[in-house]
Every structure is written in structure tokens, then in C-alpha cells.
């Protein structure tokens, strides 16, 4: 009788049932024990939760204070200024609203470049991630002994922030879209390799065995036996990554890798007088992100629903 109470200690409803059965069988002494041990458990649980909460609150408050202290402007002084910059930009953009369409047309090529960087790095990263994931999945790997090697390699690829590779490559290759593309592709390969291999682990191995019995090579087994099973999930993850990569490619532009982010930095450096350009870029970036988010989430829903049927 004691064990179920102990394991379900967190749920008051259960306790009522257990105590009642205990009373009915007439073991009155046990009821007291059970109640006592239950209350002790609840007390301990509360203590632990309380302590965790306390630590969390202390971390948050002291973290906020440290961040506030090390920031150039304080939180409370800055709070009422948040609206200043957007309203300045908006006011100027509104004043020159007649120019907005032409400015949007002017920055459209930069937008195309940003999207191209994202698309190319997603394609390259997905292919590399696919290979890495198949080589790093138990049961599918071509060289089972090297699985840890490929896994650690994709872990490292995933851990490197894009900006690190982008900045180093800009130094060697000069500014432009290629450094950003390589940087994002490397990170994408690592990130997708992990998600892909989680899916591939659950793939049915029967088709693979069947193909192996016909003498198919490893590549053929993967292409014909595994890929058709995992394709919907892979496409879905790749699309999600594409959304993320559009944002990443805009950010990398800001540190000198071309595209919309680069134009934004230039427009910002000009300050007042060029706020209409900044506004046009904001509009383009916002529109693009929302558009691709919506489009890809719609398509992803269709993919996963199709799978459920």
C-alpha cells in the first residue's frame, strides 16, 4: 500500500483514494504513517522547488543588475527612449513616403542577394548534413567505427557561430556573399546533421536489408531504402532551417558580408536624412521574413499532415 502513495506523491487526488482504502481495511496505524511520509515528501518537494525558484530569482535579479551596470546606458534611463529611434525613422519615412516604392526597388537586389545566400547555404548545408547524418547514425553508417568521429564533427560544426567563420573568411576572400554563404552552410550542415540523424535512427531497416540482399551499394541503399522514408521530415527540417538562414544572412550582412544587412548598416551610418532608406530596408526585411515564415510553415504543415494519414 505504501509504494503507490510514494510514487504518486505529487498528486493529491490519489492520496484520498489510497487513504480511504487504507481506512476501509482497518489499518488505522498505517494511515498515519502514510500521511506522515506523504506530508514529509510534499514538504521536501516544496523545499526543493522553493530553493530552485530562489536560486533562479537571485540569478535573474543579479544577472539583470550586472548587465545593467555593464551596459553603456542604463535600463531605466533607456526605457522611455525605446520609441525615439523608430518614431524618428517612421516620421522621416512618412515625410518622404512618395520615395518609398523607388527605395524598395533600389534595395530589392540586395534582398535577392540575402535570399540567395540563405538558399544556397541551405542547399549545401542540407546535402552535407544528410551525408553526415547517414554516416553518423547507428545501423546505417558505412563505417560503424567512425560514427563518434562524424558525430563530434557535426557537433563542432553546430557549435561554431556563423559570424566567426564569416569574419575570418571576409579577411581572406574579401567582402561579399561567398563568406556568408560558406559560414551559414557549415553551421546548417552541423545543425541539420543532428536533426536528420534523430529521424534516421527511427527509420525502418527492412528496405535497407532487402536492398542489401540484391547487392546494392551503400549509396543505393541510402538513396532507395532510407531517403524515401525520411524525406518528408527532412524537407520539413530543411525548410525550417531556410527560415532561420534568411535571418542569419541578414545579420551577417551587417558585419560586411553583403546583402540587405550591409545596406542597413550603411543607411544607419548616415543617420538622420537617410532614415527613409533604413525604413525601406526594415519594410523589405520584415516582409520577407513574414512571407517565408508563413509559406514554409504552411508547406511544412502539409508535409507532416500527409505523413500522419
Amino acid at each position: 500500500m505504501t509504494t503507490p502513495v510514494a510514487s504518486d506523491a505529487g498528486r493529491p487526488v490519489f492520496l484520498c483514494g489510497e487513504t480511504m482504502t487504507a481506512t476501509n481495511t482497518g489499518r488505522a496505524l498505517n494511515v498515519g504513517d502514510i500521511r506522515e511520509s506523504y506530508l514529509a515528501q510534499v514538504g521536501r518537494r516544496r523545499l526543493y522547488s522553493g530553493l530552485a525558484l530562489l536560486i533562479f530569482v537571485v540569478l535573474m535579479v543579479s544577472g539583470f543588475n550586472v548587465a545593467d551596470e555593464r551596459n553603456a546606458g542604463g535600463f531605466w534611463e533607456g526605457l522611455h527612449q525605446i520609441g525615439d529611434y523608430p518614431s524618428e525613422v517612421l516620421a522621416e519615412a512618412w515625410e518622404k513616403r512618395a520615395d518609398l516604392p523607388s527605395l524598395i526597388a533600389k534595395f530589392f537586389p540586395a534582398l535577392v542577394e540575402t535570399i540567395n545566400i540563405a538558399a544556397m547555404s541551405t542547399i549545401i548545408g542540407a546535402v552535407a548534413g544528410l551525408i553526415l547524418s547517414l554516416l553518423g547514425t547507428r545501423g546505417l553508417a558505412k563505417w560503424p567505427l567512425l560514427i563518434p568521429l562524424f558525430r563530434r564533427f557535426s557537433d563542432i560544426l553546430r557549435a561554431i557561430p556563423e559570424i566567426v567563420i564569416a569574419l575570418v573568411l571576409i579577411f581572406v576572400l574579401g567582402g561579399g556573399p561567398v563568406p556568408a554563404m560558406i559560414a551559414i552552410a557549415l553551421h546548417t550542415a552541423g545543425a541539420l546533421a543532428k536533426m536528420f540523424s534523430e529521424v534516421a535512427e527511427n527509420a525502418d531497416l527492412k528496405p535497407v536489408e532487402g536492398l542489401a540482399s540484391t547487392g546494392a551499394t551503400w549509396t543505393q541503399r541510402m538513396l532507395l531504402g532510407v531517403l524515401p522514408q525520411v524525406a518528408p521530415n527532412y524537407v520539413s527540417y530543411t525548410l525550417l532551417r531556410f527560415e532561420i538562414n534568411i535571418r542569419a544572412s541578414a545579420i551577417l550582412g551587417f558585419v560586411g558580408a553583403g546583402g540587405l544587412g550591409y545596406e542597413l548598416r550603411n543607411a544607419m551610418a548616415w543617420g538622420p536624412g537617410r532614415f527613409d532608406e533604413a525604413a525601406a530596408i526594415f519594410v523589405l526585411l520584415f516582409g520577407t521574413i513574414v512571407f517565408f515564415d508563413q509559406a514554409s510553415s504552411r508547406y511544412r504543415n502539409r508535409l507532416t499532415e500527409g505523413q500522419a494519414q
Binding site: R70, N71, N116, A159, P161, V164, V168, L173, I289
Partner: protein, 438 residues
């Protein structure tokens, strides 16, 4: 089965095959066409010309090595010795590396029979094995040498500047100064700078040996000298990493705390008012759509550069993402548990606490912890834009284009930091909601 039926099935099957074939060839063709377009749009043909191989070489050699400068100021004849030519890496007065000798004639032995001699009256001799003796005289702003007109490609000479690059080191002669760079493997001065008494002292000697500095205990003195190392700035680096993690922590947790109540407002089950629901959802879409980049830019104007700005940028963007996923999780809550709790006479607040929260907490926690790791990476990038944390130190080190060993150091630290956060978030997830995949 009649023949008509077979005919119809056959046409249908053929149609399917055609579609499949079209798809199988069409998709690669489209991708190939796109690659061709990108090839020209990204201007790949001229990329190799634009690529700076000299930079690549400096980068790869600087990452694992350091150089010691021996410089003679030709105006006053003074000779200085400094690691990387930086003042903070300078040898104390009277001290010099052991590969330099002589008093009137200073002899710099670069190794492999390559010897540079600083002679009086601003004369310099460079003795290179297999090439011969190069004598140079600096006067005013000019340099005169005995070099022939026909030079190998590792010597670059004009009447203003002579640069000699050998595998052992580099020698640069101009009218105003004569410089010798001697290369060594490793990160010099990583532990202690030259002005510290602990420089060049073994690890065990610091721990167990005699007191080196009379004013301080060995361990505390060594710790303080290491911590305040001017060359590698360990203190600043540690603070920067702390700032980056702080940005990720504050941003993620703050976003989760703000998003949770808002998610109740965006979930159909808990908010019957259509207008309120729609408004909350549009708010989520808006803050997500205005990317972290734009938030960073806008917030940096209000709060100035620093970790707080980065934390707030992460907070605002992630509030949108969390709000969306949280409200989806809330939509999918099971009714049975709420009914069960209601049947015990629970009030609405208790119904949420015992009927809803236990169901959604695992989903939410998993999401938050995953974002904590991914935001550590974002915080590095945002730090580079807004000016805080390790991201800023990295960009600064890259922009000066000379301290590549520091860049390599920061990159290693960043990777270790992200992997640690990855491990920590996985560990916490296992502790808090049970481990699924070991």
C-alpha cells in the same frame, strides 16, 4: 476485368510514370539552373583573383606561432625587443632574448645560419646561408644596399624600403628603422607577460618552490599576474564570456516568463474572445518578423552598447517564438486531466495549476532549454553588432588584422562555451523532465 479497364489503368499508370520522371529530372534541372545563376550572381569566377592569399598565409601561420621583433630606431640607435612588437609584450630594460648577443655590434641569430648584425652608424649586415652577405646603410629616409638588380622573389627592394623574407624570419629595412622578426611556435606570454616575476618559471616551481616575489605568495601572485595578463587579457575575456552567457540567460528566461501568460491569451481554449486572441497572435508574429537584427539596432539606440541591449533583443524576438510554440502546446492540452481536477471542486486558478501546467511544463521546458543553448550562439553574434561580450572582442581582434592567435583563442573559447551550454541544457533537461535519449 474488361479490356477497357486495363486500358484506363495503363494510361493512368503511364501518366503517373511520366509525372514521376518529370519530377525526377525536373528538380535536379531546376537546382542546376539555380546553381548556374548563383555562380554568376555571386561572381565566383573573379573570387579567386579577389581572394588574398597573403592574408590566408598570415592567418594560418599567426594562429599557431608568434614573432619577436628586434627594432633599431635609426634616429637614435636604440634597440628594442618586444613580442609581437607591442609595448605590453616588450622586454624589460636591460633584458633581451638569448638569440641576440653583442654590445657594440648586435648580432641576431635567426637560426639556420641566417644572421643579422646591427653595426654602428645605422649599418646593417644580413648574412643568409647560400645567398651571401647583404650590407645596407640607412641614411635619412633612404636605404642603400649592395643588392644586385636581379633579385629572387623573397627580396623586395627599393631605395626607400628593403624587405627580406626567409623561412627563419623577416627583415625590413627603412630609413627610419631596421626591424627583424623572428618566428616561434606557440602562444607566447599566454600565462605571464615579461614584466611578471613568474615568467619562464615552471608550474611546479610556482606551486611548491621558494617564494619568487617577496611581497606576494606564489600562488596568489601567479594567479593575479595571470588574471591581469595585459597581452591576453584573461580577465576581460572571462568577463566577455560571462556577458555573452548572461545575455542568453536573461533573454531566454525573460522571454519565457513574458511569453507564458501571453500564450494563454493566444490559445483558443483559454481565451474565448476572438479579438484578444487574434491581437496576441499578431503581436507574436510581429516581434518574430522584426528580426533580432532590427531589434538590436533599435535597442542599441535607446540603451547604448552592452550586454543589456543584447539580452533585451533576444528577449523580444524569443517572446514571439515562445508565445507561438507555447500557445500551440496549450491548444493541445488534454481535457481529461482538467475535468478530473474540476471534479474535485478546484477553482479556475487551481485548475490551471494542477490540470494544465503539469501537462505543458515538459514541452515548455524542453523548448526553453533548447533555446538557451541556441541563444548563446545568437548572443555572440548580437554582441558583435551591439558591442558586448565575446562577440565584440572577436570582431575587434579580427578587425585589427594582426592578433590572429588571439582570434584563434577566442574561437576555441566560443566553441567550448557553446558546447558546454549544449551539454548543460541537455543535462538540465534530463534532470527536470526525464531523459528520453540518454
Amino acid at each position: 476485368m474488361s479490356s477497357v479497364d486495363i486500358q484506363a489503368t495503363k494510361t493512368h499508370a503511364e501518366g503517373l510514370f511520366r509525372r514521376k520522371r518529370l519530377f525526377a529530372f525536373g528538380v535536379p534541372a531546376v537546382i542546376l539552373a539555380y546553381f548556374t545563376y548563383i555562380f554568376f550572381a555571386f561572381d565566383l569566377p573573379s573570387l579567386l583573383q579577389r581572394a588574398n592569399m597573403e592574408n590566408a598565409r598570415t592567418l594560418t601561420s599567426d594562429i599557431w606561432s608568434h614573432k619577436v621583433h628586434v627594432t633599431r630606431d635609426n634616429r637614435n640607435g636604440e634597440i628594442s625587443y618586444a613580442v609581437e612588437g607591442e609595448r605590453k609584450g616588450a622586454y624589460p630594460v636591460g633584458a633581451r632574448p638569448d638569440w641576440v648577443s653583442g654590445t657594440d655590434v648586435i648580432t641576431v641569430d635567426l637560426g639556420a645560419d641566417t644572421i643579422v648584425r646591427f653595426l654602428p652608424d645605422n649599418r646593417t649586415e644580413v648574412d643568409i646561408a647560400g645567398f651571401g652577405l647583404i650590407a645596407a646603410q640607412a641614411e635619412g629616409r633612404k636605404v642603400s644596399t649592395n643588392l644586385p638588380a636581379d633579385l629572387p622573389d623573397w627580396i623586395n627592394a627599393s631605395d626607400r624600403r628593403v624587405a627580406i623574407t626567409t623561412p627563419e624570419g623577416r627583415i625590413t629595412l627603412t630609413g627610419s628603422k631596421t626591424e627583424v622578426f623572428n618566428y616561434f611556435a606557440g602562444w607566447e606570454l599566454f600565462w605571464f607577460t615579461l614584466d611578471s616575476p613568474y615568467h619562464g618559471v615552471g608550474f611546479s616551481q610556482v606551486l611548491f618552490g621558494d617564494q619568487i616575489d617577496p611581497d606576494r605568495g606564489n600562488i596568489s601572485g601567479a594567479m593575479s599576474d595571470f588574471w591581469n595578463n595585459k597581452m591576453w587579457r584573461h580577465k576581460d575575456v572571462a568577463w566577455a564570456i560571462g556577458e555573452t552567457i548572461l545575455m542568453a540567460f536573461l533573454g531566454t528566461m525573460g522571454a519565457a516568463m513574458i511569453a507564458l501568460p501571453l500564450a494563454f491569451m493566444a490559445a483558443k481554449r483559454f481565451t474565448p474572445i476572438v479579438l484578444l486572441r487574434a491581437a496576441t497572435r499578431r503581436l507574436f508574429d510581429f516581434v518574430r518578423g522584426v528580426d533580432a537584427l532590427i531589434w538590436t539596432v533599435v535597442l542599441a539606440r535607446a540603451f547604448g552598447p552592452g550586454p543589456l541591449t543584447g539580452a533585451l533583443a533576444i528577449l523580444i524576438t524569443d517572446t514571439g517564438t515562445f508565445g507561438k510554440t507555447f500557445s500551440e502546446a496549450l491548444e493541445n492540452v488534454e481535457d481529461k486531466q482538467i475535468e478530473g481536477v474540476t471534479s474535485t471542486g478546484a477553482k479556475p486558478l487551481q485548475r490551471y495549476r494542477f490540470g494544465v501546467i503539469p501537462q505543458v511544463v515538459p514541452v515548455l521546458l524542453a523548448q526553453v532549454l533548447y533555446f538557451l543553448e541556441s541563444n548563446t550562439r545568437s548572443a555572440t553574434i548580437i554582441g558583435a553588432i551591439t558591442g558586448g561580450g565575446i562577440g565584440l572582442m572577436l570582431t575587434q581582434a579580427i578587425q585589427t588584422q594582426k592578433d590572429w592567435e588571439e582570434v584563434a583563442y577566442y574561437i576555441i573559447l566560443i566553441i567550448v562555451m557553446v558546447m558546454l551550454m549544449d551539454w548543460l541544457s541537455g543535462w538540465l533537461r534530463g534532470k527536470l523532465i526525464g531523459n528520453k535519449d540518454g
